[in-house]
Subunit: 193 residues, 4 copies
DNA sequence: CATGAATGAGTGTTCATTCAT
DNA sequence: GATGAATGAACACTCATTCAT
């Protein structure tokens, strides 16, 4: 296996196990065992457990950022962009719940892991937030969305998606995720207007 | 100090330190020191660290449930109830950020701490969710809100509030919390309609 | 309850719980609860956990010593004395297994509890050993027993009784204890001859 | 040092310190220090303190079982087998008092450590008991010993040896252990006849 | 690159003992 | 005498990280 591939497999394993068990309950040994390598070898690719957690969040946010970037690149109304993003988000959540849940459970919650004195941990999600900002700004420009503080919009979009993600993780949703697509997109757009 | 009062002071200290440092990085010794008692004495009031975390979440959700319960009891339109709740929520967040953040950071994130095999950890927040459900149901009855899956509404209300709470915790909000009151209430009502 | 009676009830409770759970796994709190008094009050009667254990062994050995003393006082052959002692010992074991087992499990095993630098822990059983010595000496005088080192005789008598006590505690003996009376007395006498 | 050898050295250190100080007064740290390794490394070889105690007892009983097995294999009268066993037992006790005393002090006394719900702790000594049973059965077959309940015979053999072991541990025996060989063998054979 | 034995600081929890009431 | 809250030292066990092979 190439160096890059092995690094990636370590990342994916971490992501999965961190999400399932939490950051602190996950041991390096478990991650190593999950992909059949030795504990010491994990350290050849990542210098610490913390760095694994950070690399994981960058990995996830870049996936989300890419999705949103491609949508933003299209020449369609902002409301449609929201609908597209909700759709792709739900598909992603369906396919890789561990990645999305990692974002909401591990990253947003374990502040002490991701934050350094000199650097807001928030910055790890920068690429995604940039795209979100673009989406909102475009919508405001086209008068589709109300011209309000970006943070309100941010709270609406990521809050509502976070809420549904949480419920999905709790396994309380009776219907298939895709069923919620339309209503969620509608709710988000309304909240932004 | 009465027994009940001491138990409460331990709870409040836990809440604060858990929120600041995370569940796992917080030691019983720190909690004990914070209120000037011995480690062993903490265990005279709570049988384990985990039980402290659980008692904390019950404490917070009951506070929130009480606030919402009183609002629900009033004879006003559902939209006004939402506005009232947002106002009181923001005041509460301003005054006791550790309690609200505890709810979003510690409870929602450290699944492995709160969940037992036989019992959804979700149930610890039951009293609050019940009130939220009442608010939404009433609004649907009065045609103020759209008749949609409660989970969507749940995601909207707690998601948007969670989002702003997160941003507040990140200290990125430039304006005073109260400034966001109107816009947030508006966004939530819109999202429910 | 008189002071003496309460002291005794504490002693008996200790004996029972020490035997059932071992010295270290028994807490003062358990002993106190067992007789319905407070932890602090136990310390009004015994200055330490260790002193409780020591008082217990003195209590038991004095019971055994009394039994043997009365037998020694009779004008019967030594072999009959052995038979009598075995009989009464088995009856005692039947009735108060916790006392006898205390002697063999707790006292003989937890050396570190009973021994002080200046004093052999062995001395706590002195009264009983004295009587045993008398029994053997008398038997040698009457030519019933061989004139051998007392320690050999001691090993035979208390060893064989200890062995059957152990097996009784293990609950592997199918027959009633009394059934073993004759054979045990016979074995002991033979071993002494 | 090979893995197996290190495991063994941990075992021997445990045996010695458990015997000297008792199970509960012995700390893993002491065991580790005694052989110059770290606390954590002990746990690479034994998963718990309890498992160390159990492995120790298996180790000792297998030593005793082997001794007795070799004697049983010889074509000599049962009485001579007893004499051989007593001799080798005393030699072993002389050479490795910690092992034999471990058997009598730690194993027989700390029931709560060795017993599981589903399994008599007694079973840890199975291999030795099997050999003892063979010795007795053979002696009965050759009419050297009386045909009595095996448990009586068990109490006699292990009781008498346990008694002398106890006295040896108390350091009350004036003569050399070997001096008691003949008398002990004689006493045991008599008690079995 | 890969291994996994070794390290040792760190933490939840227990419990004998004390003492103010 | 009686209570039981308070103390704090002690200890089993964990696990991120290192490094010799």
């Amino acid at each position: 296996m190439s160096k890059e591939k092995k690094k990636n497999s370590i990342l994916l394993a971490s992501l999965e196990i961190f999400t399932k068990q939490g950051f602190y309950k996950t041991t390096i040994s478990q991650i190593a065992k999950h992909i059949g390598i030795s504990v010491g070898n994990v350290y050849n690719y990542f210098p610490s457990k913390e760095s694994l957690a950070k690399a994981s969040i960058v990995f996830v946010t870049e996936k989300l950022a890419t999705i949103l970037h491609n949508i933003n690149a299209q020449d369609i109304p902002a409301k449609e962009k929201v609908a597209c993003f909700v759709e792709e988000y739900l598909e992603f959540l369906q396919k890789h719940p561990e990645m999305i849940e990692y974002f909401f459970r591990i990253y947003l919650a374990n502040r002490e892991v991701f934050y350094q004195s000199d650097d807001s941990g928030f910055s790890l999600a920068e690429s995604f937030i940039k795209e979100l900002e673009k989406l909102v700004t475009d919508g405001i420009a086209s008068k589709e969305f109300a011209n309000q503080d970006f943070y309100i919009s941010f709270a609406c979009i990521s809050g509502i998606l976070g809420g549904i993600t949480f419920l999905h993780g709790e396994k309380v949703l009776q219907a298939d995720l895709a069923q919620y697509k339309k209503n969620l997109a509608h709710a988000i757009c309304k909240s932004l207007s």
